[in-house]
């Protein structure tokens, strides 16, 4: 912060742009998002059209990533599947962000509620997250919305714990005391002085939530409780390919590589954001 002419926001931005992880992650994620948004325009084939004459074609000139047992183009399915996987990831980030912040802020700011709320969060975290999400998604019925709800329930407690931790630190700061001394109401203190100062750790956590959600969606679809077919998602393309692993391993391999690319990009982005926004927790 020695640079006195720059605003804090400008300085943060400059530091992010100097961070290699952030820049690589941002480029990878932007590219993937762009490809997913443009999928209907750039996909070489219809991802849903069955064609029995082109069943189980290996990767080649017409079908770059090969075809599945219905003769559907794997590349086109991955491009379209990316849309669904990214929508699920982004929605989970939004829902977890809202509930995680609200729950964590209430627990950290209002002392009397801290114990009961956080014990409940501990209880949810005692279940293996992936299994909890599977059980919820299966019980509620397979749909994109229910997958988002299930993943949000599984990722909210940890997010709430991070927000609460930051709120506990920030609420003891002198500027919060100053705001109180000036007569600011509790709600004004919470929103204007405390919450704005926990955004750093929150943004970092939500980036990782995005990555976790992409991985979890794939596992849910693989088990058979993800978004329903025939619409492709990364996970259900892999699940489809499982029975053809000997004759057509490309059905399984390529969507897995797509998942790795997305999650790696998000993890790099998260690491970069963490270095700059939340250096305390650097690992």
């Amino acid at each position: 912060m020695s640079d006195t002419v720059s605003t804090p926001l400008g300085e943060t931005w400059r530091r992010l742009l100097r961070n290699r992880s952030f820049v690589i992650g941002a480029v990878v994620v932007s590219l993937i998002v762009a490809v997913a948004v443009l999928a209907p325009l750039i996909a070489p084939h219809d991802p849903l059209r069955n064609n029995f004459r082109t069943r189980l074609q290996p990767p080649g000139e017409i079908f770059w990533f090969g075809t599945d047992h219905f003769g559907r183009d794997i590349l086109s399915r991955i491009l379209h599947g990316g849309r669904i996987s990214l929508i699920i990831g982004a929605s989970t980030v939004v829902v977890t962000g809202i509930f995680g912040t609200a729950i964590g802020a209430v627990a950290g700011f209002f002392r009397a509620l801290d114990e009961p709320i956080m014990r409940l969060m501990d209880a949810i975290m005692a279940f293996p997250a992936i299994l909890l999400a599977m059980a919820i998604a299966a019980v509620m019925g397979a749909s994109v919305t229910n997958v988002v709800i299930a993943l949000s329930i599984a990722t909210t407690p940890h997010t709430a714990r991070i927000v609460r931790g930051s709120v506990l630190v920030v609420r003891e700061m002198e500027y919060v005391e100053a705001a109180r001394a000036l007569g600011a109401s509790e709600l004004r203190v919470l929103f204007r002085h405390v919450l704005v100062n926990v955004t750093g750790p929150l943004i970092v956590r939500l980036t990782y939530v995005f990555a976790i959600a992409i991985l979890a969606e794939a596992a849910l679809s693989f088990i058979g409780v993800g978004p329903p077919p025939p619409a492709p998602s990364f996970g259900n393309i892999i699940a489809n390919g499982r029975d053809f692993m000997i004759v057509a391993p490309w059905i399984t391999i390529f969507p897995g590589l797509a998942i790795i690319a997305v999650v790696l990009g998000l993890n790099l982005l998260g690491d970069g954001l963490r270095d700059v926004l939340d250096p305390r927790t650097r690992i």
Partner: protein, 314 residues
């Protein structure tokens, strides 16, 4: 230490109570009447009635809850609708399979991860560090079940070194047993290792920057001695917590990986139940795994307090 133990146990008891309440409440997430989901539309009113009795849905809610607690506390998790046998029995029968995979991957992940992380810390910002950190990040980004599938294609179908799936009990030969759980354990360990390596590196770097390490260096001790005698013991303490955290991830991961390798463990039982909506097994299985996780973390916290007095005094 006794006060710490009492406080910690009381905390666990409260969480356990909430955990069982949540598993009990899972059935209320079913849209509408649970029996309509479980039975075909053509079910007779008698069949619906029988199922309601079997699930205890015919009683008022507080009584259902009391029933559930009474049974759970005596170790009875109810009867599986599909298998027509006791849930506790079915779980216990499959537990050794799941625990052996989880324990072996945990050991592998911690041993490899700690070694790699400490190596990275000792060569901070030089090439071994960069290789370890890139590999760790990559491991964090690979779906474990997909890695399992790739292993099947390469090492089982391609090279024929391992069976493509199934489980051989240890009584039928140690080698066969090891071969049957090698690939699933490795797939899980490799994806968890990254997290351990990152934590181990951070912890070691933290310790190496402390005053007592500088003092040890300053008084002329060899670097190896300082690292092994002063650095390592202190760096390992925070890693106990990491073990607790990945124990949870590994239990979840085992559930999915059992599906990939057709291994008859707790995971396959629960997933089969999830797909066929066998509620007593879903509830019992979730509760069971949550208890295992809480126990592991209880042990971790007690060990932590035993080696670090600051924890038990806090």
């Amino acid at each position: 230490m006794i006060r710490f133990l009492a406080r910690r146990l009381a905390g666990s008891a409260v969480v356990l109570l909430l955990v069982s309440l949540l598993t009990f409440g899972l059935i209320w997430l079913v849209p509408g009447d649970p029996t309509t989901v479980l039975l075909e539309a053509s079910a007779t009113p008698e069949q619906v009635g029988r199922l309601r009795v079997a699930l205890g849905l015919d009683k008022p809610l507080p009584l259902q809850m009391l029933d559930w607690y009474g049974r759970v506390l005596s170790g009875d998790l109810g009867q599986s609708i599909l298998l027509n046998r006791s849930v506790t029995e079915a779980l216990l029968e499959r537990l050794p399979v799941t625990l052996s995979i989880a324990a072996i991957s945990l050991t592998l992940a911690v041993m490899l991860g700690v070694t790699a992380g400490i190596l990275a810390a000792l060569f901070h910002n030089r090439w071994p560090d960069q290789i370890v950190m890139s590999t760790a990040l990559f491991g964090l980004s690979v779906p474990d079940f997909w890695l399992g599938l790739v292993f099947v294609v390469v090492f089982a179908l391609g090279l024929g070194w391992f069976p493509t799936g199934g489980f051989t009990p240890i009584e039928q030969g140690v080698m066969e047993w090891a071969r049957s759980i090698a690939l699933p354990s490795l797939a899980l360990a490799l994806t968890q290792m990254g997290f351990v390596a990152r934590m181990a590196r951070a912890s070691m770097l933290d310790v190496l920057n402390q005053d007592f390490v500088r003092t040890a260096d300053a008084k002329g001790l060899s670097r190896t001695y300082v690292v092994l005698r002063h650095g390592l013991p202190n760096a390992l303490v925070p890693l106990l917590t990491v073990t607790g955290i990945i124990a949870g991830a590994l239990l979840g991961g085992t559930v999915v990986i059992e599906q990939v390798f057709s291994i008859p463990g707790v995971g396959r039982l629960i997933i089969g139940a999830i797909l066929s909506r066998d509620f007593p097994v879903i509830q019992g299985g979730l509760l069971f795994l949550a208890v295992v996780y809480l126990l592991v973390n209880l042990v971790v916290d007690i060990l932590y307090a035993a080696v670090d007095p600051r924890v038990r005094l806090a």
